[in-house]
């Protein structure tokens, strides 16, 4: 067996890092759009329309049971065909990151809607009533009183979801997106399968730093926000 080569492991990092942007773009794009969609889902679930509520609940339940890889393949193979036949538009040439985004927005929105809902429900309804009674409009009461408090409660779970998303996002290489894992696979293929362990270890180290970084930033955010809460 070939001995382990630490030199290659460190040498491969500069080759991988330029593709970190793609990995991060997947995460950031999904978090932004997924949170909006998740917020919409949470709003529907707490709304008065019974039919819509059941639809949202069924959707969240189904997503909870769907492996990311299966959803990724359904979107990647199914969506172009669906668009071609229903809207008569060809999206086969779209960049692969579009399919990755769509997949993970669908997947991310369900758990995040639950995070938002539980955070919203953890805020005493009296807060809203008090805000409305001193003359704020319902929207103002929501944005200035309920939302800031709910955000603090939601932070730990939100952070967990982001970390999970980041790890699941690594599956994007299976449809051919060249993010850091995709680049790593290319490097391994370039060396005819040699240096696989070294490359994967370098990737693991990068991911470890990323997840720890996200975890620490969310802890920091939580700390800052709850500190201001205690003083007042």
């Amino acid at each position: 067996m070939r001995p382990f080569s630490p030199d290659f492991m460190f040498g491969v990092v500069p080759m991988l890092l330029p593709f970190l942007g793609v990995t991060l773009a997947v995460v950031v794009g999904t978090v932004l759009a997924g949170s909006l969609f998740g917020g919409l889902l949470a709003w529907i679930r707490m709304g008065r329309n019974t039919i819509l509520r059941y639809v949202a609940e069924a959707y969240i339940y189904m997503i909870r049971c769907t492996p990311s890889i299966v959803m990724l393949f359904v979107v990647f193979y199914g969506l172009p065909k669906f668009c071609l036949e229903v809207f008569d538009t060809n999206i086969n040439d779209y960049d692969k990151i579009v399919f990755v985004w769509i997949t993970f927005i669908l997947l991310f929105s369900a758990p995040i809607s639950e995070v938002m809902r539980s955070a919203y429900e953890s805020i005493d309804h009296g807060q809203y009533e008090a805000a409305v009674s001193i003359g704020l409009s319902p929207w103002q009461a929501f944005f200035h009183i309920v939302l800031p408090q709910a955000t603090v409660t939601a932070l730990p779970n939100f952070g967990n979801s982001v970390i999970n998303l980041m790890k699941e996002g690594s599956l994007a290489y299976t449809i051919g997106l060249v993010d850091i894992i995709g680049k790593g696979q290319l490097i391994i293929a370039h060396h005819y399968g040699a240096y696989a362990l070294e490359t994967y270890l370098a990737l693991a180290a990068i991911y470890l730093l990323l997840t720890l970084g996200v975890e620490k930033s969310f802890l920091y955010l939580e700390h800052t926000f709850s500190a201001s809460e205690k003083i007042s």
């Binding site: 067996m1 049971c65 769907t66 036949e85 980041m166």
Partner: protein
């Protein structure tokens, strides 16, 4: 949208036929991980043994901080050749490359589950107040007896929801076993689809298959949760 309905139905039966493989992957990994996870949880709860505690903490952090795809790729690219080298060095009459790849799948998912499960156990054990242990010792039980009869039954109640989540996630995670050429639900559908490029139908079948399996697991956990929580004073809704 015109789908190949005949293929849809045929593949659905294929996918259903592969459910035992997926379930086996899930539950064998879960059972194999339990003793190790418990040991890790115990080590991390004790104040002594600082070095060992740091090592297992590093292990848990690594397993939780890296994507499971990477763990699969890593182990599947290295372990067979390492085992082969060992077999050659000791002149063992075995051919590692003849082994069923499901073995490596068990190893990866067990290693991953150990880390996640140890966190579940740790928080569950932490939820039982210290006084319980002290009371059990005062009443004349040994430490082991106290754990078996007093601490664990209570810890299990608070661990149940997390255990359910972990099982569901593991079940979903086993869909990656196809990377190791294990013929689970996803792999079977993928192979069936590759003949006629019927990927959409195949993956829709897989999706339905997972929803069914996950629903069954959740129902089972619901009953298990009721069972272990039957001595609770205040029933939760």
């Amino acid at each position: 949208m015109d789908l190949d309905y005949k293929f849809l139905v045929q593949t659905f039966y294929l996918v259903l036929g592969a459910i035992p493989t997926t379930l086996k992957l899930t539950f064998v990994s879960l059972l194999a991980a339990t003793p190790f996870a418990f040991a890790i949880a115990m080590v991390r709860r004790q104040s002594g043994r600082r070095i060992l505690s740091q090592i297992v903490k590093a292990y848990v952090t690594f397993m939780r901080g890296t994507p499971i795809v990477l763990q699969i790729l890593m182990i599947y690219s290295v372990l067979p050749s390492v085992l082969n080298a060992v077999a050659l060095a000791w002149n063992l009459p075995i051919n590692v490359f003849d082994w069923d790849p499901v073995l490596y799948a068990y190893i990866v998912f067990t290693l991953n589950t150990i880390a996640l499960l140890s966190e579940v156990f740790r928080s569950a054990l932490g939820s039982v107040v210290q006084g319980q242990m002290e009371a059990a010792l005062c009443a004349g039980l040994t430490r082991v007896q106290a754990y078996i009869h007093i601490i664990l039954p209570q810890a299990l109640v608070s661990a149940m929801p997390n255990l359910c989540n972990l099982t569901i996630n593991l079940l979903k995670g086993t869909s990656l076993a196809f990377l190791m050429t294990v013929k689970d639900m996803t792999a079977v559908a993928k192979v069936a689809a590759s003949y006629g490029y019927n990927y959409i139908e195949a993956y829709m079948d897989v999706l339905v298959g997972y929803v069914i399996v996950c629903s069954i697991v959740q129902v089972l956990f619901h009953f298990a949760e009721r069972h272990v929580g039957r001595y609770r004073l205040v029933r939760q809704k």
